[in-house]
Symmetry: C2
Subunit: 392 residues, 2 copies
DNA sequence: CAGAATAGTTTTGACATTGAACAAACGTGA
DNA sequence: TCACGTTTGTTCAATGTCAAAACTATTCTG
């Protein structure tokens, strides 16, 4: 099927670390130069790829130099994000460049969805207006449990329940309503793919995103594990100690009660709304309460994550969100706990990393995810382009 | 691509609950009757499908009756299994019928791999000799951690480490060395597929296999979750209580220390080698120690499994192996614990089931898995069959 | 027994891929 | 400087698969 090959060629072009030639794509996809060339022509005509001038200092040798192909800058996607303290919209093209970015801050705890999603549509409209590219889709990252049909079932920190985004959010610039996804799942996309379609350093890892609560995503082979209903990755409520403190979810001893920002602040003897940087500073300064709180969080993280690694065999942990700031503080104890409690640690030592600094990671990941949907089926956008029949 | 359609037609034929006709396969796969018919012809010629007489009491109506297609009985696979107390070999064909089955009992704790694998080759040879079908492959289920290249890294209850099966096991009847897999992963195959290629009641579930230790497999979309190295599903060593009893693995409070058969027997006040049925009987008879042990196991299972469900969103639990026999005893507490500790329980109530009684489930699942590999790529077996060109 | 309905086959045409040949563009070395 | 090798990209005929439609076969219905 042509659609399959089209997708494979485009994927190979985006995955290449440096702009490849038609011939390179042919060998990468396993087809002949003839077919690869024809497919590339269609992709260029559709704006998904661009022929870049061979000016750059790329490696040269004998033979005819090829024309190098870069991701097209004419197609882009809209990524949206709602947090407890801001709404944001970014527009990203196939090169991964953030072409526009708008944020509105606020306090959205216990807010009404109508108002917040109205604000979101506002920043989204402004972001799109700035960009000279066709926006192929929109995706929204929400800090909560989302069902398969675009309904947010529950976002505890926003205080939202059963929000049908498509029905509540005003339409943006003629685009269809955004696809809705989990904030951690979409944030993880920016780690598995530093740019759309370009694989990053890790393809298998656990992404732990500390925000108001603790969200997680298990990434396997570059794709977030979804599970039966798409609710996989709820690491915040894994039981760390069955006799531990009560949690708002109705259980006891959940990870969030040890490593959640609020719990951490209280245990450190600070205001419940203290910022993570304050907790980190106090711990680094040797304040006993803060240091003990961080240590306890590290061990709790180790217990919860060892369960994850035992069950899904993903020995790389990426700490993101607010957990980035205490990453180096928790790493030693976390690693030690993992090594002790993970059965396969002997053969695959656990790795703990801090996510690269990336503003609005969830929104950017949402845009990438939407672009990935395009890359998986380029034929849809190019249409049934028939072979150029000479008029006659 | 023709290979893809060939696989789709065969998969549809196997998935159908009742022998479908060519026309039914055409609509099921979305192709036209013409193509489906041609592909079916090739599959019948290759022995992968059989035209069954339309004698049976299948639904009849107006129109020309079609010829119904059943899985071919001419191709089969060899499934092997090594436990602490037996080795077994089964030969299964595409209909799912066990055509031959041989078992040799023994005590293989702390055994030497050479001897046991020799016994295994022996029963395998006898099983193959009985069957009049071409055996397309062999797969071996082992109770331990297996790497991607057919090496058993560690099977604690057998006492084996770093066993390269292909190098140690004598060849069986000219077959290539068996593919090696985890016992729980392969046992789970028989639950997701009651017959090769035929989807069962659940496509997403956690399979918990109690043998000497506790093995597990997380099945998503019919396929066991493999993870980065293929070691996913090690549920036996998920931490239930960080302050719990020491485990042989070096950690503390592992699930195996509560729900493993040995731990259960000791907690019930019986011999460490007591049979599960004895424990179950004692608990049912109201012996306090036994009842308390089972209750403790149920809660431990609930804590460990709630972590699994939170992380991978698979709300169906299937208890297999020795856990089958205490299934009804642990179910109430297990369900209650899951409901309390699983965040999404409100929207998807957990389900706990007992696996259907199936002798040598792991070996049968191993054979099925090998047949699935064939179904995924039927072209490999059929060869480059060219269109029937009339001689001339 | 005519007609409707469904199953399966044959034929024809469209289309994508392959393979080979060919033109284009560059470096190398005599 | 110029022939030669080398690599890129395109063109063209051949091949194979699928889709659409027409056609045959076989049953049930009235």
């Amino acid at each position: 099927m042509r659609a399959v090959n089209l997708a494979r060629v485009l994927a190979a072009a985006l995955a290449a670390p440096t702009p490849p030639t038609r011939a390179a794509l042919a060998t990468a996809t396993g087809t002949t130069r003839a077919t690869a060339s024809r497919l590339v022509d269609d992709l260029v005509a559709g704006g998904l790829l661009e022929e870049s001038a061979p000016d750059a200092g790329l490696p040269r040798g004998p033979g005819r130099p090829g024309t190098h192909l870069s991701p097209g800058r004419g197609v882009a996607a809209l990524g949206l994000q709602v947090d407890v303290d801001r709404v944001a919209a970014v527009v990203t093209d196939l090169t991964g460049a953030v072409r526009a970015s708008h944020v509105t801050e606020g306090d959205f705890r216990g807010s009404r969805p109508e108002g917040v999603l109205g604000l979101l549509a506002d920043v989204a409209g402004r972001a799109i207006a700035e960009v000279d590219a066709t926006v192929v889709g929109a995706r929204l990252a929400l800090p909560g449990i989302v069902d398969g049909r675009g309904v947010l079932l529950r976002a505890p920190n926003l205080g939202w329940s059963d929000v049908a985004v498509a029905a509540v959010m005003p339409p943006v610039d003629g685009l269809p309503a955004p696809v809705v996804g989990n904030e951690a799942d979409l944030g993880a996309v920016t780690v598995s793919y530093p740019a759309p379609g370009r694989p990053g350093e890790h393809a298998d890892f656990v992404y732990l995103s500390g925000a108001a609560g603790i969200g997680g995503s298990v990434v396997l082979d570059g794709a977030p594990l979804r599970g039966r209903h798409g609710w996989a990755g709820e690491l915040g409520h894994v039981t760390v100690d069955p006799d531990g403190p009560d949690c708002a979810c109705g259980s006891t001893g959940c990870l969030e009660q040890y490593a959640g920002m609020r719990a951490l602040a209280v245990a450190a003897g600070l205001e419940p709304t203290a910022r993570t940087s304050d907790i980190a500073r106090a711990a680094r300064d040797g304040e006993p309460a803060a240091a003990a709180a961080v240590e306890r969080a590290a061990e709790a993280l180790g217990i919860a994550l060892s369960a994850v690694v035992n069950v899904v065999d993903v020995p790389v942990i990426v700490l993101a969100g607010h957990l980035r700031e205490i990453g180096d503080l928790v790493r030693p104890t976390l690693l030690e706990t993992l090594t002790r409690r993970v059965l396969s640690a002997r053969w695959a030592p656990p790795v703990v990393e801090v996510a690269p600094q990336r503003p609005l990671a969830a929104a950017v990941g949402a845009a990438y995810a939407e672009l990935h949907a395009l890359v998986a089926d380029p034929g849809r956008r190019l249409g049934r382009r028939r072979t150029a029949t000479p008029a006659g």
